[in-house]
């Protein structure tokens, strides 16, 4: 365990703080777009598309369509927030700005730099996810006090996607490389993780297997939706608390594994 998990100290937060200070400096550029996006999605998909096919047709879900996609939008904000932070933004800091090299010359270690980046990615995800939660709540779509736990899910879900993103960053030779994970992995995940419709609608066990086994977003959506409706365990018709807990364990395990892997891969990339 000692050799498996990187040695980290409080210095991780020094790196995190650097990113936070840059973020707060440009808060309006960062804040406004993430506020607008969920409103547009709710309007177009929820109130627009949802109005076409009525409210009571969602298998395994008792609420209306607008309520159904609300938690999906939160999970999507989490995924994009952390994934883009730890691919494009981290790559720019690493490759173009040489910020990591500068920090590694101080008592902060390379492992701590990467861990700080990952925690920052998770923080961005939490900020974005919580903004969407607030918007969804403002439309009166939150039914359960459990929804207050959603920012916690955002943080750990964000840590997962940040770690995943950083693994790609460790392998990226140019910034254009990110087109591959973005269009071949993130976009399918965005559409096919139970975000806009329950996967059971498409009667394909292969798709369900991929969604459950390969798309972490499925599990994050599962968790946000469960917390928001108070019905913990609502996806894929597998209506049980056990399934919700399984999602939790899945997310926790994958997050831990990817977190460690991301740090190892980045260390290998940065230290020759």
């Amino acid at each position: 365990m000692i050799s498996f998990f990187p040695k980290l100290t409080y210095r991780v937060w020094l790196v995190w703080r650097r990113n936070l200070e840059v973020f707060t400096k440009t808060i309006f550029v960062n804040f406004l777009p993430s506020l607008m996006e969920p409103i547009l999605y709710l309007a177009a998909f929820g109130f627009g598309l949802g109005a076409l096919f009525g409210a009571s047709n969602i298998p395994g879900y008792s609420g209306g369509y607008v309520q159904f996609i609300g938690p999906g939008l939160i999970a999507i904000a989490v995924m994009y927030g952390s994934f883009f932070e730890c691919t494009y933004a981290s790559f720019v800091r690493m490759y173009f700005q040489k910020t990591f090299d500068a920090i590694i010359a101080t008592p902060v270690s390379v492992e701590e730099v990467i861990a700080g980046e990952l925690l920052w990615g998770a923080t961005r995800a939490t900020i974005n996810g919580t903004i969407v939660l607030a918007v969804v709540a403002a439309f009166g779509l939150v039914n359960s006090p459990f929804a207050l736990l959603i920012p916690v899910v955002c943080f750990f879900g964000g840590l997962l996607f940040a770690s995943l993103a950083m693994c790609f960053t460790a392998k990226a030779k140019t910034i254009d490389f990110f087109n591959f994970p973005t269009f071949l992995f993130i976009t399918p995940m965005f559409l096919l993780s139970g975000t806009f419709f329950p996967l059971s609608v498409i009667k394909s066990s292969a798709l369900e297997a991929v969604a459950l086994g390969v798309f972490p977003l499925t599990h994050v959506v599962h968790m946000t939706r469960g917390l928001m409706s108070g019905e913990i365990g609502s996806l894929l018709g597998l209506d049980s608390t056990a399934m919700w807990l399984l999602a939790l364990v899945w997310v926790a395990g994958v997050t831990l594994a990817l977190f460690v892997l991301a740090i190892k891969l980045m260390k290998k990339k940065l230290i020759k």
Partner: protein, 307 residues
């Protein structure tokens, strides 16, 4: 200024990249407290690699390297605390202003906020950057960036300062400001290691130089002694001409005559022997100058391009 206390000690130090590129090949050296040492060498000689191992940026492949008695393999965090680094490439943080660059960097060394601000102001003053305090990094000239990088290297009040090509790309004014600051710091007792391929820079600043080529230290010494030993006192330069070369060799049997391209250079250990030649050939465009470190360098490392 320098004492007999060894601050940095390398024994059989090696660095192998990707299991096949030997950048530093089994070198030994000592750096004493308070001295200014220059690593001199052509591009790709291994200067930067050597420096990067000292500040624990690169792990060593073989041998031993200690800084203030601490092993770079196990004590990297402690070592980094008292080293200041001015890297070759610009890695200032473009997301922050000039002063914020210093404050944020100080925080990585656990310097308190008030202390960091105080040091930042002092350093900006020292490097004549006060007016640019709130400027963006993008607004700085090359010389200002270089100075800010040096200022940043000093926020932790280091005992050892590593300067990797501190004046590359600077105009003469910029170079002289940097040189002046390096001399001031040296007087304050900071141990300085710099890499350069400017010979005049090494001559002007360094107590000792290590001439590096192909990953090995091929010669070490005090600049003026090396010059005396390898290039003599005076150098005569004249345009190539068969007759001239023959004549020079005959007239100056003790001198070394070197032909490179369309130029002939003659090195002589004794001072003043070339006067006669000028008188003999008043119509030839002969120049006589003092031998310098560049002559030493070229004679030791050859003239082949390294890239």
């Amino acid at each position: 200024m320098s004492s007999s206390e060894v601050l940095i000690k390398a024994r059989s130090l090696s660095k192998l990249y990707n299991h096949n590129v030997l950048a530093v090949d089994n070198i030994d050296f000592d750096v004493y407290r308070g001295e200014c040492v220059g690593f001199l060498g052509p591009n790709g000689a291994g200067k930067t690699t050597a420096v990067r191992m000292i500040y624990c940026f690169l792990p060593i492949t073989g041998g031993e390297l200690t800084v203030a008695g601490l092993d770079v393999k196990t004590q990297e965090r402690k070592i980094k605390c008292f080293i200041g680094v001015s890297p070759q490439e610009d890695n200032l943080d473009p997301d922050f202003t000039v002063i914020k660059n210093l404050e944020v960097y100080a925080r990585y060394f656990d310097v308190s906020k008030e202390e960091a601000r105080k040091r930042a102001h002092e350093l900006l003053k020292f490097f004549a950057l006060e007016e640019k305090k709130d400027a963006s990094i993008y607004e700085l000239s090359g010389g200002m960036k270089r100075r800010l990088i040096m200022a940043r290297a000093l926020v932790n009040q280091p005992r050892i300062l590593l300067l990797d090509e501190p004046t590359t790309g600077l105009d003469p004014q910029g170079r002289h400001i940097v040189w002046d600051k390096i001399r001031t710091l040296r007087k304050q007792g900071v141990t300085i290691i710099l890499t350069t391929h400017y010979m005049d820079e090494a001559e002007a600043l360094c107590d000792r130089v290590f001439i590096v080529d192909n990953g090995k230290i091929i010669q070490t010494g005090v600049p003026h002694e090396l010059i005396k030993q390898y290039a003599g006192e005076d150098v005569l330069e004249v345009e190539y001409d068969k007759m001239m070369v023959r004549l020079l060799k005959r007239e100056l049997p003790d001198a070394e005559v070197e032909v490179f391209g369309d130029q002939v250079r003659v090195f002589d250990k004794k001072h003043g022997v070339f006067r006669q030649i000028i008188k003999q050939f008043p119509d030839k465009n002969i120049t006589i100058r003092n031998a310098n470190l560049e002559d030493v360098f070229l004679r030791l490392t050859g003239r082949k391009l390294r890239e």
